[in-house]
C-alpha cells in the first residue's frame, strides 16, 4: 500500500477536506477509497458523516456537529497512519451500450475533423478504452471518467448547448461522460447511452461507485430503441462483466 503526503483543511464548520497530491492517478484514487472505507468503520460512521470522494480528495461532512478542526485534523492524521486495507470493497467493471448513430452523435463530424480520425476509428477508440470513475457529481449520477486516449482528445465546444439530451455521451479533452438528464452542456456529443445511471426509485439509486471502471460497446439504432423500452419496463440490462479486488 502506497502512502502519500496528505493535507487536511477546514471547509466551513460542518466539513473537513483531505487532499492527496494533485494528480489523476489510479493508485491515489485507490488509497483514497481504502481510507474512506477505513473512516466509515472508525469514528466516522455513515449515520452521521457523508463522505464525498473525487479525484484527489475526500470531503467529510457532518451537518449535526460543529467540527473542532484542530482535533479532527489530528485524529485524521493518526487514522491515516493506522489505516488498513479492510475487507476490500469490490469495484466493478460495467459495460454500457452506446448508440453512435449520427442522430445522437451530433458532434462526431467535428471530433473527426479535430482529431483527424474517421468516425469508425473514433467509435473503435471509445469502445476499446477502459475508463475509471474518478468522481460522481455535478448532477445526480454524472460520472467523471478518466482514461480518454490521446487520439480522442477534443476541446470543449466554444459555445455550450442550452439543451443536451439525457443519456448523451460527451467528450471534452481528457474526460468523457454521460449526461444523466437534459441540461445545458459544452461537451462534444458522440452518442447516447439508453441505460439510466441514476434512478431515484431504486434502493441503490446509482449503481456506479467511484473507483469502478466503465467500458462502452456500440449498439444499433434498433437495439437502442429496444433498450429504451426495456429500461422503462424495468428489465435490467446492466452487464457487470467482472469484479476485481
Amino acid at each position: 500500500m502506497n502512502s502519500y503526503p496528505i493535507q487536511i483543511k477546514p471547509f466551513g464548520v460542518h466539513a473537513i477536506l483531505i487532499e492527496w497530491p494533485n494528480e489523476i492517478e489510479r493508485s491515489i484514487l485507490d488509497d483514497i477509497l481504502i481510507f474512506k472505507d477505513f473512516l466509515f468503520l472508525n469514528s466516522f460512521n455513515d449515520k452521521e458523516w457523508e463522505i464525498v470522494p473525487a479525484y484527489n480528495s475526500l470531503t467529510l461532512i457532518n451537518i449535526h456537529k460543529n467540527i473542532d478542526h484542530k482535533a479532527t485534523s489530528n485524529q485524521l492524521e493518526n487514522l491515516y497512519r493506522e489505516r488498513k486495507e479492510g475487507a476490500k470493497k469490490q469495484t466493478h467493471l460495467w459495460r454500457l451500450p452506446v448508440c453512435y448513430d449520427p442522430e445522437f452523435g451530433i458532434d462526431l463530424e467535428e471530433v473527426s475533423k479535430h482529431t483527424g480520425k474517421s468516425i469508425e476509428q473514433i467509435i473503435t477508440l471509445h469502445t476499446t478504452s477502459t475508463f475509471i470513475v474518478y468522481g460522481i457529481g455535478f448532477l445526480p449520477g454524472f460520472m467523471y471518467l478518466g482514461g480518454v486516449p490521446k487520439d480522442l482528445e477534443t476541446p470543449r465546444k466554444a459555445t455550450p448547448r442550452l439543451n443536451v439530451k439525457k443519456g448523451a455521451v460527451g467528450l471534452a479533452r481528457k474526460q468523457t461522460g454521460i449526461y444523466p438528464q437534459d441540461c445545458p452542456g459544452g461537451w462534444n456529443i458522440i452518442g447516447n447511452c439508453p441505460i439510466p445511471i441514476f434512478n431515484a426509485e431504486k434502493e441503490n439509486p446509482c449503481f456506479v461507485s467511484v473507483g469502478d471502471s466503465i467500458q462502452f460497446y456500440s449498439i444499433t439504432r434498433a437495439q437502442f430503441d429496444l433498450h429504451v423500452i426495456q429500461a422503462e419496463v424495468g428489465i435490467d440490462l446492466l452487464k457487470k462483466e467482472s469484479t476485481r479486488a
Binding site: 483543511k9 466551513g12 494533485n22 457529481g137
Partner: protein, 279 residues
C-alpha cells in the same frame, strides 16, 4: 388537499433537505432560508423537518379543502386570508374552502407557509424537497394539489412573533475556503473591504455576484462543494452555491458561508448588496 388556483412566480415544497446521497451527485436541497422554515414549523409545534411551501417573490392563490392551522414566516409577501390582510409571522385557523392569497412583495424574497403536521408530498430519497428529476415536480403549477392532514383539535401556544426587518441583514459571515490562499493580497482586500451586488443569475442552485475580483489562473481537480461555498471563476466572478447547488465543482472554493449567512442570502435578489466578514 391544498389546491393551487394560481401558481405565482415559483413555489416549491421543501423540508430540511436530502442527506446521504451527495456521493451520488444528489444536491441537498431543502428550504433556502432554513431559519424561516424552522420558525414556521415551530409556531405550529411541528417537527423541524416537516415540509413547508417556499414561496418566491410573488405568491400563489391557494384553496384549503380541509380545516387545519397554518403559519407564515420569512419574506413578507402581503398574505391575505379570504381577502383580508393577515400578518406575516402569525398562526391562523383555516376552514374548508378558505382561500390564501399573496399581494405586494414587502421585504425579503422567500416566504414560508407551514401547515399543522407538514405537507405530505411523496418522500423521495428520504426528503420531500422538490428537485427535478429526483422528484417528479420541480415547482407548483395551477391545478396541482398538495396533500396535508385535516386537523381540528389544535390550540396554538403562539399566534404571533415579532421579527426584525429581514432586509437589514447585509453582512455574510464566512470562513476561509480551501483555496483561499490562491488569491492575491489585492483580491483578498477586495473581498473583505468591498460590497457586492447580486446578479440577475440567482436561483436555488447558485447566486452570482456582479463585481469581479480580477482573473486567476489556478487549475484544480474537481472536488466537493457545499451549500454556501463561494467559488471564483477564472475571470474573477464570484458564484455562491445555494441549497440545490451541485455537489462537486472545479472552481477554487475561496470562502464558505455560515449557515446563518446562507439564510440571509436566500432573502436577497437581483440588485441587492452584500458584504463578507470573518467572524
Amino acid at each position: 388537499m391544498l389546491k393551487v388556483i394560481k401558481s405565482g412566480f415559483f413555489t416549491t415544497v421543501q423540508d430540511q433537505g436530502r442527506f446521504g446521497f451527495r456521493h451520488m451527485g444528489v444536491p441537498v436541497s431543502g428550504a433556502m432560508d432554513q431559519a424561516a422554515a424552522l420558525l414556521a414549523n415551530a409556531m405550529l409545534e411541528n417537527d423541524e423537518n416537516d415540509a413547508v411551501l417556499e414561496i418566491t417573490m410573488s405568491g400563489p392563490l391557494l384553496e384549503f379543502e380541509e380545516e387545519t392551522w397554518i403559519a407564515l414566516s420569512g419574506a413578507n409577501l402581503s398574505p391575505q386570508l379570504n381577502g383580508k390582510d393577515i400578518d406575516n409571522h402569525s398562526v391562523h385557523k383555516v376552514n374548508a374552502g378558505d382561500k390564501l392569497a399573496f399581494g405586494k412583495h414587502i421585504d425579503g424574497l422567500r416566504g414560508y407557509l407551514a401547515v399543522k403536521n407538514g405537507f405530505q408530498t411523496p418522500l423521495v430519497l428520504n426528503s420531500r424537497s422538490f428537485y427535478s428529476p429526483i422528484t417528479e415536480i420541480n415547482h407548483l403549477d395551477s391545478r396541482m394539489e398538495v396533500p396535508y392532514d385535516e386537523v381540528a383539535d389544535f390550540e396554538p401556544k403562539i399566534t404571533h412573533i415579532k421579527r426584525e426587518d429581514i432586509d437589514k441583514f447585509k453582512t455574510l459571515n464566512v470562513s476561509l475556503g480551501p483555496e483561499y490562499e490562491i488569491l492575491s493580497d489585492a483580491q483578498k482586500e477586495l473581498i473583505f473591504n468591498g460590497s457586492f451586488t447580486i446578479a440577475k443569475e440567482n436561483n436555488r442552485m447558485a447566486y452570482q455576484l456582479e463585481e469581479s475580483i480580477g482573473e486567476h489562473t489556478h487549475i484544480m481537480l474537481t472536488s466537493a462543494t457545499l451549500p454556501g461555498t463561494v467559488q471564483v471563476t477564472p475571470g474573477g466572478k464570484l458564484i455562491i452555491l445555494m441549497r440545490d447547488g451541485q455537489t462537486t465543482g472545479g472552481y477554487p472554493r475561496i470562502l464558505q458561508l455560515s449557515e446563518k449567512a446562507i439564510d440571509i442570502l436566500a432573502q436577497k435578489t437581483f440588485g441587492d448588496s452584500i458584504s463578507f466578514k470573518l467572524p
